[in-house]
């Protein structure tokens, strides 16, 4: 259960503003792909376009295609809700549902999607998802307490558990560690390495060491200036990007000379 994603000539607009221009990349199943680049270069926008989450902002639309195992997610008659059921997402800020307990948070995707689930199956699913997110041992005794009572790192892993509980094909992560301490970051990075065995993972990060540590392939985005669209400068194996990139811009960025 994981899918190949092929982005072809993708332009993304917010109203009349072209945020991203001409992105093409092939993301293989069961890999971790990191998107790096300076702030405002459109990497988060590209990530969100992979499950049509950018459409939450009124006036957003795309030109081009995103094929998931050969199916265009922007094709006619495609329901974004169905796309999002297959492409899960973890956000920069942990956002557990404040009205729900830890367990209810994990099961939220299933319950809210009207799937009837027996008590035993629910318990099993919650345990599996929490184990998958390396959180089970820490919360198994307080599953019925509110999710918002956990620490920041635990909340983020709870959100990951919530995302994998609906058994998606792809998991998108938008700077999942930017608000976390190094220990929690390590926990999440270990988790990403495990998730790779089952899912296609795409991660946006500002932390280049993190990109180097967790990803198989890396895409570097940049913008020419404020108000200009972001572009994919280089997309290659992570090792090459960080050791011997083809473009000077990439070299400058990963070596810390700008951005």
């Amino acid at each position: 259960m994981s899918k190949q994603i092929e982005i072809k000539d993708l332009d993304i607009y917010y109203g009349s503003f072209r945020a991203v221009e001409g992105v093409s990349m092939l993301i293989e199943p069961r890999t971790v792909t990191a998107l790096i680049g300076p702030s405002g270069c459109g990497k988060s926008t590209v990530l969100r376009s992979l499950n049509r989450m950018h459409e939450v902002i009124p006036g957003a639309y795309v030109d081009g295609s995103v094929m998931m195992d050969g199916q265009d997610i922007y094709g006619a008659g495609v329901d974004p809700v169905n796309v999002r059921r297959q492409v899960g997402m973890v956000f920069q800020r942990a956002n557990p549902f404040p009205t729900m307990s830890i367990k209810e948070n994990v099961l939220a995707g299933v319950r809210l999607n009207n799937q009837r689930i027996s008590r035993k199956d629910a318990d099993d699913l919650a345990e599996r998802a929490l184990r998958g997110a390396n959180l089970w041992e820490e919360v198994k005794d307080r599953l019925d307490l509110p999710g918002s009572g956990l620490s920041g790192g635990q909340q983020q892993r709870l959100c990951i558990a919530r995302a994998i509980a609906v058994q998606p094909e792809v998991i998108l992560m938008d700077e999942p560690c930017s608000a976390l301490d190094p220990i929690s970051t390590l926990a999440i990075e270990d988790l990403i390495a495990e998730l790779k065995n089952e899912y296609t993972v795409v991660i946006v990060t500002h932390n280049m060491q993190q990109a180097a540590r967790v990803s198989d392939r890396t895409g570097f985005f940049n913008i020419a200036g404020t108000g200009k669209p972001g572009k994919l400068i280089e997309y290659n194996d992570t090792e090459i990007i960080f050791s011997n990139p083809e473009k000077d811009d990439t070299q400058n960025y990963v070596s810390g000379r700008f951005g």
Partner: protein, 382 residues
């Protein structure tokens, strides 16, 4: 090197210390000012003139506190104390009318209810001036009551809630979740703003005219039968809807976008996100908004007078016949006492008791809303 430390002079640039008034100085000055003001006031007028004493105490307190603080603590802290005193006195002044109103109602209405609890269970049906004259003369108990008005208030307000809460909450959901910045959304927001400013009697006339128009279609002479509980409820709804919309809208806008995105990312449709995530997160705020709206309309008099009239008897039927509510009962008792002359005091007693019941009703409502809000609020948030 000697190890003597330099001890900076107080007030010099090196010192972190500063002069400070003794603990409780504010209270000491306040109490002292009040005592001096009482003495001064008595000397000046020879009597106990409360407004004059309060004014004197306030001015004295200001001057003494500022002067003392200025000499001991310096300009910055003196200014701070003046600002604190200003804010506190404004608060006290704002409380005066509220507390005196509550006190007055309690003093005038409380004994009536305690001595003649039957006012709560009787109506004005068959009430005659002669009974009130007997009561005032001390030859009989206080007859009559406002049970019919309590029932009328509850029924009409309940009907108004049933009409306006769904409309108000759904409008707010549309505005926040669906309208974005489109023309319809802007138009609704504008109209809601306009509705907030409608004088309540106009709302009453509107409701009466509405039902009157419909009823004359059926029966050309039937405009009088438009005076009924449901017209009053519609009038109150006109006043309630904008308040509910405004309050709910503000609360819904406070629900973080993060939460909506989190549910969308799980593949949950928009309507379900609203029903299962947004509304539960905001429910306590929505409830208190609704309570404010109810408290606002439950005491309305004018729209009830023109729509439901003044009933003297108990009427459970919202769809037929005049009804009485507590505010119209109070108005009617004061303006048209059952008995003229001295015995009008009996009507006045009943009016004060009704006012007390109305205030208690609003307070109980507020309390219930607070408890509900506390019970339903998201738990564990830090």
């Amino acid at each position: 090197m000697s190890n003597t430390t330099v001890k900076p002079e107080q007030g010099s640039k090196l010192s972190l210390r500063a002069g400070k008034l003794p603990k409780g100085a504010t209270w000491m000055v306040a109490i002292g000012s009040i005592i001096v003001a009482i003495v001064l006031g008595m000397l000046m007028t020879g009597g106990f003139n409360i407004p004059l004493i309060a004014l004197l105490a306030g001015v004295l307190n200001f001057i003494v506190l500022y002067a003392w603080s200025r000499t001991v603590e310096g300009k910055r802290k003196a200014t701070d104390r003046v600002a604190t005193t200003l804010v506190t006195s404004s608060f006290v002044i704002a409380l005066i009318p509220l507390i005196s109103l509550l006190w007055m109602t309690l003093v005038r209405g409380g004994p009536v209810i305690l001595e003649s609890p039957t006012v709560l269970s009787r109506t004005m049906e068959g009430m005659k001036g002669i009974y009130d004259q007997d009561y005032v003369a001390g030859e009989g108990e206080l007859l009559g009551g406002f049970y019919h008005s309590i029932i009328g208030t509850v029924l009409i307000t309940l009907a108004a809630c049933i009409i306006s809460i769904p409309i108000g909450v759904f409008t707010a959901i549309y505005l926040v979740e669906y309208a974005g910045r489109n023309t319809l959304g802007k138009a609704i927001t504008f109209l809601v703003d306009v509705m907030t400013g409608i004088p309540s009697i106009v709302a009453g006339l509107f409701a009466f005219a509405l039902f009157g128009t419909f009823l004359t279609l059926v029966d050309p002479g039937g405009i009088g039968s438009a005076k009924m509980g449901i017209s009053a409820a519609v009038a109150l709804s006109v006043l309630m809807v904008p308040i509910v919309v405004r309050n709910t809208e503000e609360i819904l806008r406070l629900v973080p976008m993060d939460l909506r995105e989190a549910t969308y990312a799980l593949g949950v449709p928009k309507w379900k996100t609203i029903v299962r995530i947004v509304l539960p997160t905001a429910i306590s705020g929505i409830l208190s908004g609704i309570t404010i709206a109810i408290a606002r309309v439950i005491g309305e008099t004018a729209p009830i007078m023109v729509t439901a009239g003044f009933a003297r008897n108990l009427n459970w039927d919202l769809f037929g016949g005049w009804m009485s509510t507590l505010p119209t009962f109070i108005y009617d008792s004061q303006m048209r006492p059952t008995s003229p002359g001295v015995a009008a005091a009996a009507s006045s007693d009943r009016a004060w008791a009704a006012a007390l019941v109305l205030i208690v009703l609003v307070m109980v409502l507020n309390l219930i809303a607070r408890l509900l809000a506390k019970y339903l609020a998201p738990k564990g948030a830090r």
